[in-house]
């Protein structure tokens, strides 16, 4: 019970803090809404994505350091294991400093979903939904939907194989049609509903018993490169729990337009 009340305290505290957050939309760009068919939309279930603002870059080590200075309860020593597992900021040298091994401009990784969510809330933003993220990420340099372009898909697949790309700095990959950098090629990114495909009542899981995005469903549904690349993202997301902190996993924030 004691730990439960602690959780409540943290949640309440978090809520109070978030009201103090600065609303800022610099370094964000507009992603114009539209309709797209996601990977799992085998039955042509088109999804409508409203227009939203998205961070141009993933959150950097430096950005996160600033956050920790304002909200020390998210330092490694203070964060609750329930909200951030033992890998949380494990590559940081000290409790409140990243040390000399990490580049200040490299993307922050080894952060849990709770931490990422809190970070965004403290900026007056939120994590993108899977659909928002996928919608923005289907753009290449020149078009909003490059999913049918073989070279684009091969580039993504190549990255999925390349080790240690988290060492690179933000902005070091390409700028896409919307003006967003690094959606592919740097780190994986947290999404608000990262595990919804596995647990939502809308997913194929409820219909097709082996749709856990491993053996069976990959064999049935994926016929082209586009799906292979997307499958890897969904598989990765599906392997996560909200308190996991992973070396190749960072995040960026988005913001609704109506709230402006």
């Amino acid at each position: 019970m004691n730990s439960f009340s602690k959780i409540i305290t943290v949640l309440v505290f978090g809520a109070v803090v978030s009201t103090h957050s600065l609303a800022q939309s610099e370094n964000m760009v507009l992603i114009k809404g539209g309709v797209y068919i996601p990977l799992y939309g085998v039955d042509s279930t088109a999804v409508t994505v409203d227009s939203f603002l998205m961070d141009v870059y993933p959150v950097s080590n430096n950005n996160y350091l600033t956050f920790l200075q304002k909200f020390p309860e998210w330092k490694r020593s203070k964060a609750k294991r329930l909200f951030a597992d033992g890998n949380y900021l494990i590559n940081w040298e000290g409790d409140g400093n990243m040390g000399s091994q990490l580049l200040p401009d490299a993307p922050i990784t080894n952060v849990s979903w709770f931490a990422a969510k809190k970070y965004c809330e403290c900026q007056g933003k939120r994590l993108p939904t899977v659909d928002e993220w996928e919608y923005a990420a289907m753009a290449d340099e020149n078009s909003p939907d490059a999913r049918k372009t073989p070279s684009y898909n091969q580039m993504i697949l190549d990255w999925y194989e390349a080790p240690r790309s988290f060492d690179k700095t933000i902005g070091s990959t390409f700028k896409n049609y919307w003006g967003v950098y690094d959606l592919h090629g740097l780190v994986w990114e947290w999404t608000q509903d990262f595990n919804s495909v596995l647990i939502s009542g809308e997913s194929r899981k409820d219909v097709d018993k082996d749709s856990n995005l491993f053996c069976g469903s990959a064999a049935v549904g994926a016929s082209d490169l586009m799906n292979y690349a997307a499958f890897m993202r969904y598989a990765f997301r599906g392997s996560l729990k909200a308190n996991y902190s992973v070396k190749n996993l960072g995040f960026r924030c988005v913001k609704d337009i109506q709230i402006e």
Partner: protein, 487 residues
């Protein structure tokens, strides 16, 4: 062999008898039989010994079923496919194929799958030896920097493949995520002198076979089943030269052979041997006196043979272009006394003629036909020479003259080649066998004599001497004729 076996049986009977006499109330060491293997109790814990290919862990022998703890780490790391060609392998335990797991019927395996924090992707494991949904895949799905644990009881004896089953499954397997788990029957498999672990796999790279640099996986080629490399144990040359597996004359060799795929079925053959025993598909069915055994993708076989004569025995996928052009070639070196009764060893050109694109030697009758169109200039000589090279030399010496490590010497920047042009001509005219040193590396194999006329031979040598950093000599038909007349 037979007498030894009978003696052995007598010995066992004697021992068991003695034990019974000495202590009739103590466990005789012979195992109680159970109606169902699931009823076999697992006593005590034991950490499983895991080995990288071509080695296998010690046999289970007479040990009882145990709780066997398997610690398997998934590593995504860069390795070398062949000389100068890098590839990012995804591995179970840091090797391709992954670590060999050896169990016995009734073991309760507690499996710990650890996904290294530096890895980019989630992974899991589907073991074909598991009775349960996904072969363990559902229970072992694990993010980078995390560990998953599940347990299973091995019920059926046999040799089984394990592999990663995370989407996209084909890609995870194509990158090397497969291995073998052996389930021995109670009392273990019969003892043999040597045991090795061999597993075939096909690889799909963006660049063609031999193209240098870090080669990414090519999904389209994988879908088309158009393999650039077909190899044993993860890379070209993993079992040739210094890495060859070994045995002594008179010993019995057992190979645990798997095929990870992802696409191709293997026609596994050992050149110069007949399998005395094949445990077909790794199961209970025993076939004897087999030349080539089929190993399906995601399947395995156990082959056993006694080696009777010394020499190098070549392991191949007898879909033979895979062996000589894509890498599916390994070597077993057998040492010991010759046995002329079994094999004379006196045939002129050695035990095996590696297949090249060119015409192999035939008894010649009227000398050599003249080239249809002799080269009129140096550039034509180069042009024609290149064509001859592609037809005749390419299969072994490779596109860039780089050769194949430990099997076929390089022609590029070759000190041996550049040192003596007449020797080079002689080798093409007469063939060459035995040990030579090229650029500091020892090679010991056979090149057959090539049936080329004076023009073609001059052209191809000129091409070789004027490519890949060699000494830029021009070889003329007259020079070739002069050497030919020497013999």
């Amino acid at each position: 062999m037979k007498t030894a076996l009978i003696e052995n049986i007598f010995m066992k009977m004697f021992l068991v008898g003695t034990l019974l006499l000495l202590s009739s109330c103590v466990d005789s060491g012979e195992e109680k039989t159970y109606e169902a293997t699931e009823d076999i109790p697992a006593s005590r814990e034991m950490i499983a010994e895991l080995t990288a290919p071509p080695n296998v862990p010690r046999g289970v022998g007479k040990r009882k079923a145990k709780k066997l703890i398997v610690n398997m780490e998934v590593l995504e790391e860069e390795g070398e496919m062949t000389d100068g060609v890098k590839y990012v392998y995804w591995t179970f335990g840091g090797s391709v194929p992954g670590s060999f797991i050896r169990t016995r019927v009734g073991d309760e395996v507690e499996f710990h799958l650890k996904n290294h924090p530096d890895n980019k992707l989630p992974h899991n494991i589907d073991l074909h030896a598991v009775t349960g949904p996904g072969g363990g895949a559902t229970s072992s799905f694990v993010a980078p920097g995390h560990e998953a644990q599940f347990s299973f009881k091995v019920l059926n004896p046999g040799l089984y493949v394990y592999h990663c089953a995370t989407a996209p499954v084909g890609m995870h397997i194509a990158n090397g995520m497969y291995g073998l788990i052996l389930v021995e029957p109670a009392g273990g498999l019969p003892r043999v002198d040597r045991e090795y672990y061999v597993m075939q796999g096909d690889f799909y790279t963006k660049g063609e076979n031999g193209e240098r640099g870090l080669q990414p996986f090519d999904m389209q080629k994988a879908v088309d089943e158009d393999a650039d490399y077909v190899v044993f144990n993860g890379k070209v040359g993993s079992m040739t030269g210094d890495n060859a597996i070994t045995a002594n004359v008179g010993e019995t060799v057992r190979l645990y052979v798997g095929n990870g795929g992802p696409n191709l079925v293997s026609s596994f053959h050992v050149i110069g041997e007949i399998f005395d025993v094949v445990r077909v598909e790794g199961g209970d069915l025993i076939n004897t006196n087999v030349q080539t055994t089929l190993i399906p993708a995601g399947g395995a076989a156990i082959v056993e043979f006694r080696v009777d004569v010394p020499g190098t025995f070549i392991l191949v996928d007898h879909s033979i272009f895979r062996a000589f052009n894509k890498g599916a070639l390994g070597m077993l070196n057998v040492q010991g006394e010759e046995n002329k009764k079994i094999y004379s060893g006196t045939q002129e050109e050695g035990i095996y003629q590696p297949e090249g694109g060119g015409i192999q030697e035939l008894p010649d009758q009227d000398g050599v036909a003249e080239s249809e169109i002799p080269a009129k200039s140096f550039s034509e000589r180069m042009e024609f020479g290149k064509i001859t090279y592609q037809q005749t030399c390419f299969a072994c010496h490779q596109a860039e003259g780089q050769g194949i490590p430990n099997a076929f010497p390089p022609l590029a920047k070759s000190d041996y080649l550049n040192a003596d042009v007449n020797r080079a001509i002689d080798i093409i005219l007469q063939g060459k066998r035995g040990e030579i040193v090229v650029n500091g590396e020892k090679y010991n194999s056979v090149m057959t004599r090539q049936d080329l006329n004076d023009d073609d031979l001059a052209n191809v040598l000129t091409y070789i001497y004027n490519s890949w950093g060699n000494s830029k000599k021009e070889v003329t038909p007259a020079m070739v004729r002069a050497r030919r007349n020497q013999h």
